[in-house]
Subunit: 233 residues, 2 copies
Amino acid sequence: MNEHNHIVRSYDREQATLLDELIRMGQMAVAQLEAALEVVDRRDSSAAERIVANDEAIDALERQINHDVIHLIRRGPLASDLRIILAALRVASDIERIGDYAANIAKRSLALNLAPPLPHTRGLAALGKLAVQQVREVLEAYRNRDEQAALRVRQRDAELDTLYTGLFRELLTYMMEDPRAITPCTHLLFMAKNLERIGDHATNIAENIWFLLHGEAPLPEREKRDDSNTAAP
Amino acid sequence: MNEHNHIVRSYDREQATLLDELIRMGQMAVAQLEAALEVVDRRDSSAAERIVANDEAIDALERQINHDVIHLIRRGPLASDLRIILAALRVASDIERIGDYAANIAKRSLALNLAPPLPHTRGLAALGKLAVQQVREVLEAYRNRDEQAALRVRQRDAELDTLYTGLFRELLTYMMEDPRAITPCTHLLFMAKNLERIGDHATNIAENIWFLLHGEAPLPEREKRDDSNTAAP
């Protein structure tokens, strides 16, 4: 094997390692999110505390990815590889935020557990289920560089926004009916907001899949999403 | 002038253009944030709508910066220049988020203006003033590559968190006293949260100033910030 081939092969290997790290980071974030939604339901404060502590592992993986990206860019990638590398950098940042929001849901559940159980966590569970599905599918689309799957995730974000807006209004009603529900329902409002934001990050990842495949070409039009005052960001 | 010098000079010029764009983007975000806080105070719905519409100009500038970054990286920068370029990419993303939060504050003020004036916007104004100061100072630190100023901004984020937590509790109290205040106070809660998040983005920019000067060397220890359940993210 000549010198040139050797360099090319080691470059490909480094790029493959980067993608492996990203997939692992994504799996950790999905696991954290599912665990967070489960501890809300089970009112399990000690599990919630473990989730909060686990977030550091995702952050550490993002630091590793940033380090690897710098190393890869220094080797002077081809234009198409550069797109892959820059997309990886942004996707890592979105996954890191998803992990943060998951940890914050776990943390707020600690506050919920200080009050008697609320009947209002069902709506949150439904929103959470859709958010998990969006993150799972966009990571799968990223792994397979599947443009159509990415565009479906991006399109489905409007459903999540609609569900969020409905839950938001419902929680406001509970608060008005019973002032004792105000503090716990406020935590639920912010947990719902976190899930809506997780959906936005799944959309960002979908848009980065487009970028890595098509560069700066404009994305196809998206149906206008429900853009009420209670929604983004 | 020989060919080599010519290439170097055009590279420096492109890098200077990138930094000019970032400074401009930062100034736009600060202007949007100040305007948003002012329209909350003045209850000026048509000005609020203009702020929401203006956000697109910040987004467009971020797209331009991303484009320029790719172009600069393709030219194979030196290690130190690569750090400057990658920091620029991340700072642009933080400024874009600050702009989004400012626009969201303006948008929520439209909802506030549907109800009679509340006496509770004073606390928001104080939080907003500190957030503006943080963003202004970190952008100045970025322009001057001033490490000490950046670390001061990062340290001061704890003050913003404390102010936010206080306002959060105060708003909950108002909501419990008067159920009619629940809907507008919820908007105020989210506006306060936006300001707290803007502070986090100012901190991210401060950390990127450190990165562009020192690479991946660890940042100095920070006093532990108030990490109550009502805080981040």
